[in-house]
């Protein structure tokens, strides 16, 4: 380790070398300034995100909070209780089905419509009209979507009427109220309102693929399917993976649609992790158990978020 020793004569001359051992005030201010600009955001993140998360994690190991005057720690008892609750298992199964089917359908439909809108066989005006029609479901808020589909899927609604007159069904089907069809019905509604996000993103991706690649493939004698499989899909792969991971995270957290269409019923066939947690908090007032459930959902979401971030880093 080297050490700078100042001779008295040098120390007293007031030159620049005399101030070298200590940090210059100007330099300190310059180095701190970026952090000070970041400070409002950091403080907001701490106050609105970190603090609530820490509080919820803390709540999850208490006997109960908010509705009780004094709370005691119960360790991991709440976690054991939630994880061993059969309704929680049902909620996990339903959430998994709802999410996986929704994401896959969003991807397939989004890609199909994006290819259609990017096709040279469809005219400019037709594209504009179809683009507006296809994107419509995405523009409705979830409350509107829920009310709309509750009316359409009503036993006396339009869907049953159309299926009846075309001979597909005989009599009234209770799409949302029948335990055999309710989960599929809410999944269908979620697919309907979610595919445009994929479509728009994939359309942007398709428009960014260089035409040279297709020309080269055609020169090599590649069929339309092989061009799609060996040019389009590899070019879209980064977008597809990002979108699928994001959609997976969002769909696992879907609450409003389920709550407003079925409330988790009939019985518990559409119970999701989100509705399970909500009921614990605002119906049973068991805020500690709700926090426990929320922490488990957070942990599962973090796993997905980890893959998303890792994928983004690889892309960069």
């Amino acid at each position: 380790m080297s050490q700078l020793t100042l001779r008295p004569a040098e120390a007293g001359d007031g030159g620049p070398q005399a101030r070298r051992p200590g940090p210059r005030p100007g330099r300190l201010r310059r180095s701190l300034t970026p952090y000070l600009y970041l400070l409002p955001t950091v403080l907001l993140l701490v106050a609105l995100m970190v603090l609530p998360i820490v509080m919820v994690v803390g709540y999850s190991v208490m006997d109960n909070v908010i509705t009780t005057r004094s709370s005691e720690s119960v360790g991991l008892d709440n976690y054991v209780e939630v994880v061993t609750d059969p309704v929680f298992h049902t909620a996990i199964r339903n959430t998994l089905y709802f999410t996986v089917v929704s994401v896959l359908a969003h991807l397939v439909l989004g890609l199909a419509f994006a290819l259609l809108l990017n096709s040279a066989f469809v005219g400019r005006w037709a594209k504009a009209i179809f683009r507006a029609i296809y994107v419509l479901p995405w523009l409705f808020t979830i409350a509107v979507v829920a009310v709309l589909w509750r009316l359409l899927l009503n036993p006396n609604g339009v869907v049953n009427y159309l299926l009846d007159v075309t001979g597909f069904i005989d009599g009234n089907v209770e799409w949302l109220a029948d335990p055999d069809t309710a989960l599929h019905a809410v999944t269908f509604i979620n697919i309907w309102c979610g595919y445009p996000f994929f479509m728009i993103s994939l359309l942007a991706g398709l428009q960014g693929i260089p035409k040279d690649l297709y020309e080269a493939a055609r020169v090599d004698g590649a069929s339309a399917f092989r061009q799609f499989w060996h040019v389009t899909i590899p070019q879209l792969k980064p977008i597809i993976i990002s979108m699928a991971l994001l959609d997976f995270i969002w769909t696992t957290q879907q609450f409003a649609l389920i709550w407003m269409t079925t409330g988790g019923g009939p019985i518990n066939v559409t119970e999701m992790l989100s509705t399970f947690t909500y009921k614990l908090a605002f119906s049973k007032y068991e805020f500690s158990m709700a926090s426990t459930s929320a922490v488990i959902i957070l942990a599962l979401s973090m796993v997905l978020a980890f893959f998303y971030v890792r994928h983004q880093k690889v892309r960069d």
Binding site: I66, T67, T68, R150, A177, I267, Y285, F287
Partner: protein
Amino acid sequence: MSNGALTRRRIFAVLGASALALTAACGGGDSGDDSAGGEVTLEFSQWWEPELPDGSLRALMDRFEEENPGIRVELLSGPYASTKEQVVAGAAAGTMSDVVGLDGAWVSDFVDQGSIASLTGLMDDAGYDDSALASQVQLEGETYMIPVVNFVYPLFTNDDLLAQAGITAPPTNRTEFEAAATALSGLGENVSGWALPLSLETPNGVQNDVMSWVWASGGSMLADGQPDVTNDEVRSAVEYVKALWDDGAIAPGSFTMKEQDKVEEFTNGRVGMVISSLAHVNTIREANPDLNFSISAIPAEDSYSGERGIPYASWGIGVAENSEHKEEAWKLIDFLLSEDVNAELSTLANAFPGNTASVPDFVEGDELFGAAFEIYQSGYPANEFTGLPVAEELMRMFSEELQRALDGEQSVDDALETAQDRWLEEF
């Protein structure tokens, strides 16, 4: 200005902005603070204002302010569901409004939480005579909520549909009701006899459409304040509902049907009979002026001749424990329950008054409301969910078990046994 001074000013500006942002984010000043002039501002959160004619609740508050100089009332209004969540959050954070609109189903949980004050002491301090009050919600001898107005749930019948089905008068007992419901369902064209909303999102159908059969025959779902849903009265009512289900007399879509769906089905003439709130009379008239319908008491067991319990829901009122102005808060409650104001509020809400001396105007001028008032006076208001812990969750649990029974997954006996066990866990 030197670079150092400029930097210092920047640092202070950034810090100031951060502090402001945080203050804004954390929000919420003290409620009901005295202003410099010694004026008290009461916050009154409720879901009533959106359900009343525009400006009518504010007009009542203005009259209260005139009669009580130095007290101002700030109305915090929202839909029922969001009011409940706000009250829960406010209770937890200690920022509950001074005066709060309450549903009887919330009271037990708020008392456990220590967030609402006992009104007994406030009444005593003010020397209030409570003999005129129609009801009070009490826990362990203390009053925590007073129903300001009550919405009763009689039987609505579509008289034209009944006539088409060959029924000349609304049913008065279970046998007549079953016959009428089956005959209505036999009319075809998507018409059903009765609607049974069992949505798990808002499970109050258990209270209004299932337990109402028990109360109408003088029965009870409780014994000594504890759950007793396996008794003969409840079993008889649930078996009766199951029989209606098996007869195909209940409108499809029950398991996700909500109260408003039920009203719409009745309004559109697709359901011949519903048990519904009197508050829906005007909604139905406005939506379908041609609908010819009447109101009668909920049918009782054939052999029953005693007084009939009629389900009701209340706009209740209470005072926050954290309020610094409980005395002024009580003055507002006293005002709303006074004879003339309570009659006026009841008239505006199409509800029955919480003050027994008040007579709403609509009783005199409207045949349907007059009939409902007679039913109300000849029976007794019955709602055993009021004051129970996690009342809404109890309804949801019962609804789940009933759905399983109706779906054939379990017998009625098993459904009641399971519901009883699940309810006991919550007690």
